[in-house]
């Protein structure tokens, strides 16, 4: 499966989805006013991946900032991952990174954890 890599801009994040090397990363800033458009290829890729995922899927969220428009798209990503996790197709783990000064970012991760049946690990940097 071909990897998906998108370089970061001032408003959109760095994305790397690489099945072969087991790398799943969304990083930096995600502040597009309309996040649906930006996350469409990401969700399409994950949809395809979920048909035949790796045994383990460690998905890293290393965001500096993200907006509420992005928050909803993250919810979609999590639901897809939750599905393959609960179906036993892949052991999914979410690695949520946050700056130790950014309690809001930590809280946002914890909120998702509470709402999902997915294992989360938190890393302060």
């Amino acid at each position: 499966m071909e990897k998906l890599e998108i370089q970061a801009t001032d408003m959109t994040p760095y994305v790397k989805l690489d099945k072969e090397n087991g790398e799943f990363v969304i990083a930096e800033k995600s502040l597009p006013e309309n996040a649906i458009e930006f996350y469409r290829p990401v969700l399409e890729w994950l949809d395809e991946y979920s048909k035949n995922p790796n045994k383990d899927t460690i998905f890293q969220f290393k965001l500096e900032y993200y907006n509420t428009s992005t928050a909803k798209q993250f919810a979609r990503i999590f639901l897809l991952l939750e599905k393959i996790h609960l179906e036993g197709k892949s052991n999914v783990e979410i690695h949520w990174y946050y700056s130790k000064d950014d309690m809001d970012m930590e809280h946002s991760g914890k909120r998702y954890e509470k709402l999902l049946k997915l294992p989360f690990k938190f890393f302060a940097y």
């Binding site: 001032d10 408003m11 502040l31 597009p32 006013e33 309309n34 649906i36 900032y65 907006n67 509420t68 428009s69 928050a71 909803k72 919810a75 979609r76 639901l79 700056s99 000064d101 950014d102 309690m103 809001d104 970012m105 909120r111 509470k114 709402l115």
Partner: protein, 376 residues
């Protein structure tokens, strides 16, 4: 907070009248200067003016900003009105003209020599000015703070116009010095009376900023792109702890995007006209926005805002989670997630008010305040 909303609306009226663009009031550091330059550069790129004009504006700004940095505090700082110690920078566009205004405190004793220098510069022809520049350059500095004379001559040369100025008395020993540069565009002449009207307008705006502790005002068209530039500049302007900076940034993003998403266009404007204000006092940061909305959306929006203000923090959390995973309301305009997020992050109620504009449009003012002692 309601007073601040009223003031933001007055600012919008004062500025829109004159098409004022961008104001920063505060301490000027190299980083802030750099950010102002970057933001203006980005805005200038959209202008149809010729490159020569843009370059001129840019270099006049550099000189003007450096002048503020050098002279922002009068030699003895014992001014009772502490808010007056801040410098101010304004760039505005009226018709085809750009107006660049800088302001700082001066000691009254320094006014006569400064006036003399300004008058001398204004009396010289282009060639004389060039010669004067060389003379000052080789014979040394004119003031003990250095470079001021040279900077002023340079600004006059680049603007191709007189230097317009005004002193406003603060107390027996201090005044505020406004320097107003209007680069010549083409060969047309602009009425001097009009130029002095614009200085007086800036002085009015300035006193509004002082009264309300407003630091940064952006008046103009809001788009995804202008938000990016503005966000970059804001990050440089805010000097506070990292955690508070992050919190402010989240709230600012949502408020700016709210303008882009909900803002309506007026007949004269293609993008979303509006105003964005940041203020700061001892206790809070204030973020205020104002933009046009369609009249038929006003009631729904007001109800939503009232409801969000009534929720407790726990209820807001529940609402947030519910909307987060409800993809039936995927029309992002309708979710209200942004407002809830602002409430959650600021932990304070939103201030809002709607003004009648015409029979189609209303003007929505929104304000949020963030405690400075949060999470520290």
């Amino acid at each position: 907070m309601e007073n601040k909303l009223e003031s933001a609306y007055r600012l919008f009226s004062l500025m829109n009248e004159d098409n004022l663009g961008y104001i920063y009031r505060g301490n000027f550091t190299d980083e802030i200067t750099e950010n102002i330059l970057k933001l203006t550069e980005a805005n200038l790129q959209h202008e149809e003016s010729r490159n020569k004009i843009k370059k001129r504006i840019y270099s006049i700004m550099v000189e003007g900003l450096q002048n503020i940095t050098r002279h922002q505090h009068a030699d003895d700082v014992d001014i009772e009105k502490i808010e007056e110690t801040f410098g101010i920078f304004v760039i505005q566009k009226i018709d085809d003209y750009y107006f660049i205004t800088t302001g700082n405190v001066v000691d009254n004793v320094n006014i006569p020599p400064l006036k003399e220098l300004l008058e001398k510069i204004n009396s010289l022809s282009k060639d004389e000015l060039k010669a004067f520049y060389k003379k000052v350059l080789t014979e040394g500095e004119m003031s003990d703070k250095g470079g001021a004379g040279l900077g002023l001559i340079d600004m006059a040369r680049k603007s191709g116009n007189k230097l317009f100025y005004k002193f406003r008395k603060i107390d027996d020993t201090h005044s505020y010095f406004y320097l107003h540069t209007v680069p010549v565009v083409e060969s047309t002449n602009i009425d001097e009376k009009k130029i002095y009207d614009t200085i007086n307008n800036i002085i009015n705006v300035h006193s509004l900023l002082n009264e309300n502790s407003f630091l940064l005002i952006f008046n103009g068209e809001f788009s995804q792109e202008s938000s990016v530039n503005l966000l970059g500049a804001i990050k440089g302007h805010i000097t506070t702890s990292v955690s508070l900076k992050n919190k402010l940034f989240y709230v600012i993003v949502e408020m700016l995007q709210n303008i882009v998403k909900h803002g309506s266009k007026t007949e004269e404007n293609s993008a979303n006209p509006g105003i964005f204000v940041i203020g700061e006092d001892n206790k809070y940061f204030y973020i205020l926005t104002g933009n046009f909305i369609n009249k038929d959306e006003s009631d729904t929006l007001l109800n939503k805002l009232r409801q969000i203000n009534e929720y407790s923090i726990d209820e807001l959390e529940i609402q947030y989670s519910k909307i987060l995973f409800d993809f039936n309301i995927d029309d992002e305009k309708k979710t209200g997630l942004g407002f809830i997020d602002i409430r959650l992050k600021s932990q304070n109620k939103l201030a809002f008010s709607i003004k009648e504009y015409n029979d189609k449009l209303d003007f929505l003012l929104l304000g949020s305040k963030i405690n400075k002692t949060h999470g520290e």
